[in-house]
């Protein structure tokens, strides 16, 4: 038995990932002598920063099967999602496109829902599709929704709470066939699953640095060039990123994002195997000790690092309070201070009570077997302390 000690076990890698030391290493010179503004191209300092930004752009592009000039740097996936969804809708409306329908599953990230809500106020028609109990969107639901002329379909590649992987190639094909644009929020998928925007007919794809062991404060949006997808920028001024995204490019963060994409792509297959084994070890131990433990979401269409578990008889918040060394969560980080049960789990037909007893566990690159053993022990002990009357 491991002594509890003060060691924290970080199992919340869907909220954010630690920055990889190799990523940090490539960023360091840009936090020191290579500090030029990438837009200052007419002097050597600026040209150096610009070259580094372009090399990072190529690294990001390679990771998703895009061309470098299809990658726009942003401050993160939330901004990418805003730029993709609001940008595409507003541009189409301005260009006289009569279509107003925007389709997404009920389980999208909160920022996607917020964007669509904002667009509803501008006269667009949001359609939220229910998902199956395993978290997957039934392609027939989408087929049905896009029989009404649809401007944009947005489906997240991997859910941030359950790790459920949507069938993006199939869903994108349905959207494209109907004439709609297709956006995917791949913040949780990039670097974990192979992504090929060309083969999958994706028009717009969002990703984030800090979800793939890069720094916080940087992300990217893939914007298809052929056929060209047109967006209205969220804000302008300065002309950076071909007018799509204004503001000084944060070269150190961008260099970090590029390296993070490169490392993730290189190690993807081996890392997936390792995490799958660790996750099985954790789940086996928990299942053996806690009868009635349930896994939420498909176990086959799921990233290797995620578990979302409903514990019998005990609120997740109580479980977390009893295992303070564990960094896990009750749902999305953005909303984790809220008491409302997860809308993602509710959309998967969990009762409010079951949703409130559910925990998200996110394994990552720096999770060790010892972490898994300690986490299993801590969760089992915390659960065993639960009052029998609640069971």
């Amino acid at each position: 038995m491991h002594a509890p000690g003060n060691r924290k076990i970080y199992l919340d890698n869907q909220a954010t990932t630690p920055c990889d030391p190799r990523v940090l290493a490539v960023m360091l010179p840009f936090f020191a002598e290579r500090f030029g503004n990438p837009a200052s191209v007419e002097h050597a300092m600026g040209a150096d920063a610009a070259a580094a930004v372009e090399a990072a752009r190529a690294q990001v592009a390679t990771q998703i099967g895009a061309a470098a000039n299809e990658v726009v740097f942003t401050s993160g996936a939330t901004e990418s999602n805003n730029l993709a969804i609001k940008g595409a809708a507003r541009h189409a409306k301005r260009a006289g496109d009569p279509r107003r329908r925007i389709v997404c599953p009920e389980t999208e990230h909160k920022c996607v829902h917020e964007c669509v809500a904002e667009l509803a106020e501008e006269g667009f028609e949001p359609v939220f599709l229910p998902v199956q109990p395993d978290g997957l969107l039934d392609p027939d639901r989408l087929r049905e929704a896009v029989t009404v002329p649809t401007l944009l379909v947005s489906v997240m590649a991997v859910n941030n709470e359950t790790g459920v992987v949507q069938d993006i190639p199939t869903l994108a094909a349905i959207a494209k066939q109907s004439g709609a644009m297709f956006h995917t929020d791949a913040a949780q998928g990039a670097g974990k699953l192979p992504i090929d925007v060309a083969a999958s007919r994706i028009d717009l794809l969002s990703l984030s640095g800090h979800k793939l062991y890069g720094p916080k404060g940087v992300g990217a949006l893939y914007v298809r060039r052929r056929p060209r997808v047109r967006l209205s920028p969220l804000f302008s001024g300065g002309g950076q990123e071909r007018g799509l995204r204004a503001g000084t490019l944060p070269a150190p963060l961008i260099v970090g994002l590029g390296e993070a994409c490169h490392i993730a792509a290189t190690e993807m297959i081996a890392e997936a195997k390792r995490l799958t084994a660790l996750r099985a070890r954790l789940l086996d131990r928990l299942r053996a000790a806690i009868p009635g433990l349930a896994v939420n979401g498909s176990m086959t269409a799921r990233i290797p690092g995620n578990l979302n578990l409903t514990f019998p008889g005990l609120l997740a918040t109580e479980l977390m309070a009893r295992a303070p060394a564990l960094c896990v969560s009750t749902g999305s980080a953005c909303t984790s201070a809220q008491i409302e049960p997860s809308y993602v789990l509710r959309a998967m037909r969990l009762s409010p009570d079951a949703a409130a007893r559910s925990l998200r566990i996110g394994l990552g690159r720096f999770t060790s077997a010892a972490d898994i053993d300690d986490a299993a022990a801590a969760l089992i002990a915390a659960h065993a302390g639960s009052p029998a009357t609640l069971a």
């Binding site: 909220a15 936090f31 837009a39 007419e42 600026g46 404060g217 300065g238 944060p250 060394a325």
Partner: protein, 383 residues
């Protein structure tokens, strides 16, 4: 390399670098409730307190953004509803783009806005949003923002102030300025790029976001906060503001403008003397300016040629705003100041916080070479 392009971006201060690296070691998301998340949250809120204290705002009124451009855009987005826009003629592109079809407030030959015209514009119509930068990015000209703010308050107008170039270089006290919102940028004060802030007056503090998200920044800016950049921003702000000479809490930013870093001002003046001795004209030199900035035109010589010639001699300057680098267009700032052809013949020299003591001599030597070479290229004998 002699780096004299601080207004494009300042070198990172060592204290800011230390703060960035420490934050990069932290694993948590500030929105998570577990121990790692709480540590990240503490760092974020400490940074907010620091930025608030440095610039005279309440922590609750500080919204972190990805930088100055986003802060400007958010300020205009938040305050412009139902209002006419009045925008200074020398504003940064971030404001010009956000403000769209605004009424332009003219400036005098030194780049100072005409307050009498502002009052006339405010008096002639309904509620307005006025956008005025505290210090200009190309000339360093400091605007009479406090005076403009009292005019705005008298006529029920809102005032958004782009203090991106001023913050950390002259004293910026939000409460004293009297503006409704102020935009700040980390990397213009020696912090890392990728962070900025919008300060909001308490009465307009609850604003709709430009980037919708998971409720971060009290619903005013979605997205996981860029913690390392924000921590570095706060450290840089603390150091930059701490190195400013103490000033009385004067309501006049023009008076504040005289109080910038004296050693940078001495270097800047030496640079100007050398260039003027070789025929240069200082643009906007007869008013309060940032101590680190000068805009100098060499009549008859294109600005981009000057910048490239200086770069070949290891001196980094710019032909105007970094964002528009690469474009050959004449500076809209200098054109608005009525400088005519000189608007396409001026370079911006902006001293970083760590400018070396021999910066003026080295610049003067390079400038003399550059002037001789480019003038030679112009003369018929060289053909």
């Amino acid at each position: 390399m002699l780096y004299l392009d601080a207004n494009a971006t300042e070198p990172l201060r060592p204290t800011a670098r230390a703060a960035v690296l420490a934050a990069l070691e932290l694993a948590g998301n500030p929105s998570s409730v577990h121990a790692a998340g709480r540590a990240a949250r503490r760092l974020l809120e400490d940074a907010r307190d620091t930025v608030a204290a440095c610039f005279g705002a309440r922590p609750a009124d500080v919204v972190f953004t990805s930088g100055g451009t986003e802060a400007d855009a958010l300020g205009v987005h938040a305050l412009h509803a139902g209002r006419r826009l009045i925008v200074g003629a020398t504003e940064h592109e971030a404001i010009r783009a956000a403000a769209g079809d605004a009424v332009v407030l003219p400036v005098d030959r030194d780049g100072v806005v005409l307050l009498g015209t502002l009052e006339a514009l405010l008096a002639e119509g309904g509620p307005a949003l006025v956008c005025l930068m505290l210090a200009n990015n190309e000339t360093g000209t400091v605007q009479p923002v406090a005076e403009a703010a009292s005019l705005c308050r008298r006529y029920g107008a809102f005032l958004h102030v782009d203090a991106v170039q001023a913050a950390g270089r002259i004293s910026v006290d939000f409460a004293v300025l009297g503006a409704h919102s102020v935009a700040l940028s980390s990397h213009k004060m020696g912090g890392p790029p990728g962070a900025g802030a919008l300060l909001l007056a308490p009465e307009v503090s609850a604003i709709a976001p430009l980037i919708a998200g998971g409720g971060q920044e009290r619903g005013r800016r979605g997205g996981t906060p860029a913690l390392p950049a924000i921590a570095g921003f706060a450290a840089a702000a603390r150091e930059a503001v701490g190195t400013l000479p103490p000033v009385s809490r004067s309501p006049s930013p023009v008076a504040l403008g005289e109080s910038g870093n004296a050693s940078l001002a001495a270097l800047r003046d030496a640079i100007e003397r050398a260039a003027v001795g070789l025929g240069a004209v200082v643009c906007g030199g007869r008013t309060a300016r940032l101590a680190n900035t000068t805009s100098m035109a060499l009549p008859g010589i294109r600005a981009d040629a000057q910048v490239i010639a200086l770069d070949l001699q290891g001196v980094a300057v710019s032909a105007g705003a970094a964002c528009s680098s690469g474009k050959v267009a004449a500076s809209h700032v200098l054109a608005a100041m009525g400088l005519g052809a000189l608007a396409g013949q001026a370079i911006r020299v902006s001293l970083p916080w760590n400018a070396p003591p021999d910066a003026a001599e080295r610049f003067a030597a390079a400038y003399a070479c550059m002037a001789e070479r480019l003038r030679g290229a112009l003369s018929p004998h060289a053909a």
